[in-house]
């Protein structure tokens, strides 16, 4: 890749924005630039980045999965209930991740095998999974499982399940060197997803399906298998996000992360992914996730009420897309002008000769 294309890329612009943002926030409040603080504050929004990475792969195919926020809560409550029921914590994590993958794969199976819009499918499963997550404790009671508490599992329907073992909460609050674990998990997933997108056939399939499902079909891309796999991968990612958040908060809840949907989609779209598919990058999503997360932290640190934050995130989402559309129009206009000039030159040159 030429240096010029790197500098012109959306990812580079995001990186510049990120640096500028940190500098501005640092100028207003120097305490903000403390590396340790900065790194530690990522734990507050690492789950958004993790979920956004999964969604990036799906949006690449031109699909969407809005049920991810429900899967986060579902994975969290499954882990908590399994733990209460006496399952070893390692095994409980595997069960929760398995539920996440299954939930994602189910979305993918419906999307791949019908022509129903992915938005509608995952809208339905958004309700379905959220409902299962809130209803699971009562269901276990009805099935006659013995819970330790007096209120049975139902007591856990609205309050979180706490007392999770240290080995598990380490994922949320531990750190390697200076880097907190949630960030480690996010970076690790981003690296894997980038590798998948850039260096595997599967990654190319995703992009091709996003550009044109018909062409992908005629080229022999196994569309159904690819779609089910990518939705399952997203299910895995959001389940991880749910578990990381559970470990960070130290409490398993069924409604965990339900307010993160706007932030997740904003991170993906701000990261340069086109909602119509075929365009975007995991690095962009990662950078956009940092931009959004630090902005939120910065605004809160500046004493701006948290009520204003969604307004700003919303404006940012709309503004970034408007900016991209504007840039695209400019470059088309420039290309057209150049083509026109070249044409005129050719015609004039021709006229001179004859």
């Amino acid at each position: 890749m030429k240096a010029a294309t790197v500098f012109k890329s959306w990812e580079f612009m995001l990186a510049v924005v990120l640096v500028l943002e940190l500098l501005v926030l640092g100028m207003i409040n120097p305490a903000f630039l403390n590396i340790e603080n900065l790194l530690f504050s990522t734990s507050d929004f690492a789950h958004v980045i993790i979920a956004a990475i999964g969604l990036t792969l799906i949006i690449m195919t031109g699909g969407i999965d809005i049920s991810g926020v429900s899967i986060m809560g579902l994975a969290s409550i499954v882990l908590g209930l399994a733990f209460i029921a006496g399952v070893p914590i390692g095994f409980a994590v595997i069960i929760a991740l398995g539920v996440g993958i299954a939930a994602g794969a189910f979305n993918g199976a419906v999307v791949a095998n019908t022509d129903v819009n992915p938005l509608i499918v995952t809208l339905a499963t958004l309700f379905l999974y959220a409902g299962i997550a809130t209803g699971l404790p009562t269901l276990l009671d009805m099935l006659g499982f013995q819970a330790y508490g007096a209120g049975g599992f139902e007591a856990y329907q609205y309050e979180g399940i706490t007392g999770l073992p240290k080995e598990f909460t380490w994922i949320g609050s531990g750190r390697i060197g200076w880097v907190p674990m949630p960030l480690v998990v996010a970076l690790l997933l981003a690296a894997v997803a980038t590798w998948v997108m850039l260096f595997t056939r599967f990654g190319r399939y995703l992009k091709l399906i996003g550009v044109s499902p018909a062409v992908a079909h005629f080229t022999g891309v196994p569309i159904k298998r690819t779609l089910v796999t990518v939705y399952a991968m997203n299910g895995f990612a959001v389940a991880v996000a749910g578990l990381v958040l559970t470990a960070y908060l130290g409490s398993a809840r069924s409604d965990l992360g339900s307010e993160a949907l706007l932030s997740i989609i904003t991170a993906v779209v701000l990261g340069g992914s086109s909602i119509y598919g075929g365009q975007g990058s995991v690095i962009g999503t990662l950078l956009a996730g940092f931009v959004l997360g630090f902005m939120r932290q910065g605004l809160l640190a500046l004493g701006i009420s948290s009520d204003v934050v969604p307004v700003i995130i919303g404006l940012l989402l709309v503004g970034s897309v408007a900016l991209r559309i504007g840039l695209a129009k400019l470059s088309t206009a420039r290309a057209n002008r150049a083509a026109f000039a070249a044409e005129r030159l050719a015609v004039e040159g021709n006229g001179g000769r004859s």
């Binding site: 129903v116 938005l119 309700f127 959220a130 409902g131 989609i265 919303g314 989402l317 408007a322």
Partner: protein, 340 residues
Amino acid sequence: MKKILKSREFLVLALLVVMILAVSTVNAAVLRPLTLINIVNSSLFLILIAIGQMFVVMTRGIDVSVGAIAGLSAVIFGMALNAGIPLPLAMVCALLTGLVCGCVNAAGIVFVGIPPIIMTLGTLGAYRGLMRVLTGGSWIESIPQSIKTLAVTRYMSVPLMVWAVAALIIVLAILLSRIKAVRNFYAVGDNREGAYLLGINVRATEFTAYALAGLFSGAAAIVFTGQIGFVPMQTGSGQELKAIAAVVLGGVSLMGGTGTIWSAVIGALFLTTVDSMMIFLKVPGSWNNAVAGAVLLAIVVFDYLIRRAVRNRQLAMRAAEMHHAEQDHDTGFQPREAVR
């Protein structure tokens, strides 16, 4: 007549009746007129925002901000009432708020070209945040009695608001079938480029759709405030998704170009009834969302299976016809071949 019986709206309506009858075998209290009236009464909010959503979905768009618009309108409505503005004027304020919010969505989508889901997701955050900024995060209470009495006034034991919304729906249904410009929604949703080539003002049509979605959300806010009697911060939260679910359930395709006002009304009624039936079946309320999601999923997948079966049958018939034609060709048209 046959067309009505075959329509998706009718299928869902039939399912609705079957569901109520089935539940009545377990708990006969469902069939009491008062129960049914109350179900309708509690679905008014969803019906109104679903009607607004329908216009947008008909043009192949989507508006996930309708719940937030309803919330913001309710806040303005409550503040206006508390400021001593007379009820009719306050209602106009609420409707105008909705309309303005809808127009903001429309401007971004139509004039800038931002994808509808992105634009309305952004304004969903913005409107909801604005709502908290305006109120400082506290509920609007001590709303004047005038609006609350309006909600509890019953006419032949049916609440006044049900009459009002029913009248609105009937008037709308008549208008929608009479006004020629309404066809533009279908044309734009079905084939945007084709509609443009036909000379339809595509931008104006799309703009109107989002503006109407905002306006109806404003109307829903009035109903909500009247019924609840105060404005909590959660007003309309999550309702945007229910509104989309309702219109899709009622048979409006997200691919645009289809749908009637009855789709929105019946879809919204169905979703609310499902919630109520859970109570009569003594299913814990925590399962409501799961059931609503499962029903929506089942209906759209079932609808797909029916459509596929119909298409396959048509294809098979056409294949058979072509097969016949080929045989005719082989025998009947042989001489012509020979002549050539």
